[in-house]
């Protein structure tokens, strides 16, 4: 088999396909999205045979669809990011009660940092809460092995199984042997078999609860002796133990190798320790942990997000009456939040093992005081992003009118950045739509505006819109329709009609949906034409009751750029009003401050700045006839 450099998420897709997965569904979210995309690519190229893959409208829809497919006997794979698990929690908790038939694996990617998420929640806790086993890889290679094992485990015990990688596993790459083709497994028993057990009722739930409490100890027992909880010992009779999970295990191993190499160089005795990686945090392998802890006085636990392994060892010490001191997040021996890292583990391990060889303490020696500050470079809306026009137009339409601008999850969360400064709140997927209604009830004199993207609109705004119509809230919805799910890498959605299986379905018309739900004032506009966009926003905001503006213009990632805009240096006064108004990254002041400069390599020629300049100093070929950017 040829070797290929695969990102963790790509490797997990191969592993699931090699395990015979038949139905794959999820909703995009960093850092999980590449798994479904890889399955779709391999399906399209003919490598993955017999598989159905889709982006579902949201995580709940995806998991419910997969519950059906699993009951029919198919091996199924669900993917989402950690907050997606919140959305799919309703089906997950009940599904674990009624059980599954075809192997059912949930790939839920956590995001310590957080790097691109709303929360630092820990899916290992979710597994415990839902009473579902969870596997926690420390490298992409290990995740690959866990993915294959998860399907077996799931079918063996009739339970959903969660695999919980984190960003640094999902987005790390290494070389893998890849198969020429994969084939989905046939349906178990040839298809769905009717049985009263599939129907959840209080009586069935009581019975199912017994099944769960009976199977978890058996799964625990299997984990006790499994390969995912390896223990190594260095030196004789160690008193100190190191416990680690997820990518922290890789950091700890790396740091220990650095310590040992430094001891070797300087002729110091290498420290004695025992190390246990826990790849099966739930059900927690208590007996394996007890064997590991035998003879140890102190253990230091490295894990990210919550103190799950630490809690396991504290419980172990209590239930087994061990004289064991457990150190970790709770006593601030390790970081309480954010990511761990090799350098952090190194310092803490040197102290814990009382091992201080020369040449270890001066990492980051180049991090000197007195260095110049690097330029601030926060993420911003791309040059030419149509959302920029939408935000600017709504603010212009509102003028000095008191208002609250509810944002949502997607690229357009970046509308909060200066100079647009067009978002007052952001909570979770679809929340802006309903939060605006709360503001309108509490403060009827404010204009309450909710921005939502097209993908988020279908994922989780529809019930909120129905609520506004039903309860007659005076709010304005601004749908930023850029014809894709942009933030996570341009995935299609119901409004585009593009599917991962190939054939196009009829795109669902957003305005038609709003009207069908009873929003009578709906206005469509091009957000990159300032007058048109402001007029549309004004009309909707002035309408009493629920109203909507639909700003339609494709994401710059989907279109070929038009010729760049041009500044007439004789007309430009260098006032900088354009930069302060819209902050397009393609615009900047010339070094002498006399004139605005447009970086032709960044400008995509949208022409919006033409409308913003008070002196008419900017022209753009896109504004000439036939000059619009082509899809």
């Amino acid at each position: 088999m040829p070797k290929k450099l695969l990102m963790g998420n790509e490797a997990f897709a191969y592993a699931a396909l090699e395990a015979g997965v038949r139905v794959v569904a999820g909703y995009p979210g960093t850092p999980s999205s590449e798994l479904v995309e890889t399955v779709a690519k391999l399906h399209a190229s003919g490598v993955a045979q017999g598989v159905h893959v889709e982006w579902s409208t949201n995580e709940k829809a995806a998991l419910e669809l997969l519950a059906g497919a699993s009951m029919a006997g198919a091996r199924v794979l669900f993917t989402c990011k950690q907050v997606g698990m919140n959305v799919a929690s309703d089906p997950l908790l009940s599904l674990n009660y009624v059980g599954i038939k075809g192997g059912c694996v949930l790939f839920v990617a956590d995001d310590p940092g957080p790097i691109s998420s709303q929360t630092e929640q820990d899916t290992r806790r979710f597994a415990d809460f839902a009473k579902v086993p969870v596997l926690d890889p420390s490298t992409p290679d290990e995740g690959y092995a866990m993915m294959r094992e998860a399907f077996e485990l799931s079918e063996r015990y009739g339970t959903p199984v969660i695999i919980r990688p984190t960003t640094r596993i999902c987005h790390a790459s290494t070389f893998f042997d890849i198969p020429a083709s994969t084939q989905a497994r046939p349906l178990i028993d040839g298809g769905f078999q009717r049985d009263s057990k599939w129907v959840i009722f209080p009586r069935r739930a009581y019975q199912a609860h017994a099944e769960i409490t009976e199977r978890l100890p058996r799964i625990r027992q299997e984990f006790e002796s499994g390969a995912f909880n390896p223990v190594v010992q260095h030196g004789d009779d160690p008193a100190r133990g190191i416990v680690c999970g997820g990518v922290s295990a890789a950091y700890a191993r790396e740091a220990l190798a650095m310590l040992e190499a430094a001891c070797d160089r300087t002729g110091m005795l290498a420290p004695s320790y025992r190390l246990m990686q826990i790849g099966t945090p739930f059900p927690f392998p208590y007996e394996a942990a007890a064997a590991f802890a035998d003879g140890l006085e102190d253990v230091l636990v490295f894990e990210e997000l919550d103190h799950v392994l630490e809690d396991g060892f504290i419980q172990l010490a209590g239930s087994h009456h061990l004289d064991l001191h457990v150190h970790g997040k709770l006593d601030e021996s390790t970081l309480r939040r954010g990511e761990n890292g090799t350098e952090d583990c190194l310092g803490r391990l040197a102290a814990f093992l009382d091992c201080h060889p020369a040449g270890i303490a001066d990492l980051s020696a180049l991090d000197q005081p007195g260095a110049p500050e690097p330029p601030m470079r926060p993420p911003v809306l791309c040059a030419g992003c149509p959302h920029r026009g939408g935000f600017y137009a709504v603010k212009r339409a509102l003028g000095k009118k008191p208002a609250v601008l509810c944002g949502d999850i997607g690229c357009y969360t970046l509308g909060n950045a200066q100079p647009l400064d067009a978002i007052d709140t952001c909570l979770c997927m679809g929340a802006g739509i309903t939060m605006a209604q709360g503001f309108s009830v509490a403060e009827p004199d404010r204009a309450c505006v909710a921005f939502v993207g097209d993908s988020t609109f279908f994922a989780s705004a529809l019930t909120g819109v129905a609520n506004a119509v039903y309860n007659q809230h005076n709010v304005t919805f601004v749908i930023l329709d850029n014809a894709t799910t942009a933030m996570t890498g341009s995935q299609p959605h119901p409004g585009t009609g593009q599917t991962l299986m190939g054939p196009k379905s009829e795109p669902i018309d957003i305005e038609g949906v709003l009207r069908a739900l009873g929003v009578h004032c709906t206005v469509r506009a091009n957000p990159l034409r300032l007058d048109e966009a402001v007029a549309a926003a004004r009309q909707a905001i002035e309408h009493p009751g629920p109203s909507a503006v639909i700003f339609e213009s494709p994401c710059v990632q989907l279109i070929k750029p038009a010729l760049p805009a041009v500044i007439d240096p004789d007309t430009c006064t260098g006032c900088g009003a354009c930069i302060r108004a819209i902050g397009c990254p393609a615009m900047g002041m010339d070094t002498d401050g006399a004139c605005v400069h447009i970086d032709a390599s960044l400008c995509n020629g949208c022409g919006f700045c033409v409308d913003v300049c008070p002196f008419g100093a900017i022209s753009a070929p896109a504004r000439e006839e036939g000059g619009e950017a082509a899809c």
């Binding site: 640094r168 987005h171 790459s173 090799t342």
Partner: protein, 205 residues
Amino acid sequence: MLNILIAGVGGQGSVLAAKILAQAALERGWQVRTAETIGMAQRGGNVTSHVRMGNAGECVHAPLVAKGTADVIIALEPGEGLRALPYLAKDGLMVCATTSIPSVMTDLSGEAYCTEPIIAYLASAAAHFCAVDDAAICDRVGSRKVLNVAMLAVAVQLSAGADYGLRGAIDIDELKEALKNCVKERFIALNCESVDIAVETLQKA
């Protein structure tokens, strides 16, 4: 173990540069891990790619380069070189493109973004430093897209026969072979040309 960090701004091609290095390491039979920043950071933010290779047969555990351990930093932009500096090992090599990419924040703050003091600071802080007139190389090739590969070539060439940087672990021919496996067929000639021009520029200097 060789630790390489590639620092730049979203869209400059740091991910491809990391892939090419990984491919070269694979050809040598070494274990290799890479990691990238993906997601929100890509929207005009700073991005880093980490490449770790076990060139002495070591096992590579962690995907990320630890601070103070990068043998090489390839900075595709001066300010990003400065941001990445804490990762450089005491005896490390930094190659840094001199062309700056302004940020909206600096424009809004009204303070000019001056690269000269940054480059001067990097030159004094790094044990081995090379400022690269990337604009001249890219102009000769006729494309800014080759910046990443040209900067790789500079790092490889400066490390030839040296006891720092890549320590001669990968040579220019291996770099060209590796990039052939990583870029689209129609871009191979352009990228190989950029490698030659980058090497030639160093030899003249």
